[in-house]
Amino acid sequence: MGSSMAEGAPHVAVVGAGPAGLAAAVAAAARGVRVTLIDSAAEAGGQFYRQPAAGLGARRPQALHHQWRTWERLRDGLAAHSAGGRITHLTDHHVWFVERGLQSDGFTVHALLGPEQEQPVAVHADAVLLATGGYEKVLPFPGWTLPGVVTAGGAQAMLKSGLVLPGRVVVVAGTGPLLMPVAVGLAAAGAEVAALVEAADPKVFVRHARALAGHPAKLAEGARYAAELARHRVRVRVHHTVVAAHGSDRVEAVTVAALDGDGCVRPGSERRIPCDTLAVGHGMLPHTDLAEALGCRLDGPGVAVDDEQRTDVPGVWAAGETTGIGGAVLSLAEGRIAGLSIAARLNSRTPDARSYEAAAKARTGLREFFAVLGTVYDPPAHWTEQVTDDTVVCRCEEVPASAIRQAAGELGAGDVRTVKLLTRAGMGWCQGRMCGPAVAGLAGCEFQPSRRPFARPVPLGVLAGTNFDRHHTDSTDSTDPTEEGSS
């Protein structure tokens, strides 16, 4: 690789090939940086531009997407830079750790190859951009572990990549800007969307009307989704919540109820909706594992960055939803800024702020917009009241709400870590990614991203064979036959 590029060109490893990672990779490659783009999927695009598998022969994948023109530009940029040897795109690479060289300035990105994720791969680079995106938060309710209850984003991901639906009659529920596009997508693909159940209170929208009105493009997008929902005759119930999902081997119905001004379920408002699928989500959380293991400071749930998208660890940039949830357009702007900054800084220059003025302006506006959305789209204030004692909260370790309440009550646990030690909640395969916010809410303590040494499960044989802090001075002295990324 890299035949057309000078051997001495600076090298950045970009982790994540979604909008932020792609925008950064293309911007940096266009300015003489050698880029290794490392992503767990078979094709670039991330979750937002998730592509149908090639074998499915989709001739109009854009029917399931928005902002397709932008995707085409990114895709073509990636193809051109890949052909020119400026970007090496590693697919099916699951990054589990980014190691900061103690002896040298560089970084080693450790990944596991392929769906079985057992073969180790290491990429050496001068700098790292973390564009690891986010994942969906789901708060528990009775029946949420039944087959047929899926995350809203998961239903969308399965549709975009596999062109499959989870069932015939779907209820989409929870809160957040993702629910409308998911409901529209499922309806367009042929599912009957029996209801869209959104917890947000329209009164709160009105309270923030002025702040939202400053973003006409975003409002128009919402209006388009609303029109699509109307066209598909989807019943939208705002200020409602799912109280329970019912069924034995799979979901057969859900009970939804209206919320009052305090966010409590209004007694007597419950109604049962038959369905075979519930797609549910309560917002998104940033993936910050790699950044935390590197020692990057967090700002709230996301990675803290400066105006150039640099973290507080020299040589580590972060862009997109790993820095805070804000959608694809914000991710594109942040990615572009990061790419320009990387290209300048790796050549010991200060980036010209004028070169990313437009992206910076978009970034400011969108961050403001999503900060407002974050207050509008809020899970019901009293959601824990719906969680019965026998509701499983930690899906991996099958820990019921009663155990968490007991740990926080009689046993006096005051933080999520103590609750975990007492109950095993958060100790399973997903390492608390699914139950973290729920455990915090039920225990009455603050939710904090939990520090995980590695971003994903790693076979012990790989750990034993990983030669941490090798004393390399460049990227070519490795003896590991599986290594990639050297020129």
Binding site: L56, P61, M158, L163, E397, E398
Partner: protein, 100 residues
């Protein structure tokens, strides 16, 4: 499929608990099972409850399944291959099966 004008390559078959299932090339095991109307393929270690896809993007590990004798494979990430023998994973999946 109609919506995106899909003209998939010819289907192949896999088996799920002995039953033959048609799969389109490129589909994950989870997508293939959904397309066949199957929504659960694991029982939990504790209470033996059925589970299937939850997050759909490889984060939650709820969709673990046994593929060609290897337990604990995430069905939402692993692409189906012709002839795959897919089995419901009971508990840890270690009962007479190779651990993944």
């Amino acid at each position: 499929m109609e919506l995106v004008g899909a003209r998939p390559a010819p289907a192949f078959t896999v088996t799920f608990d002995g039953r033959s299932i048609a799969v389109l090339p490129g589909q994950t095991i989870a997508a293939a099972l959904w397309a066949a109307g199957i929504t659960s393929w694991r029982t939990t270690r504790g209470s033996g409850e059925p589970r299937g896809v939850f997050c759909g993007i490889g984060v939650c590990f709820d969709c673990l399944v046994t593929v060609n004798g290897r337990a604990n494979q995430r069905a939402c990430l692993v692409r189906a291959e012709a002839g795959d023998v897919i089995r419901t994973q009971e508990g840890t999946g270690s009962d007479g099966q190779q651990h993944g």
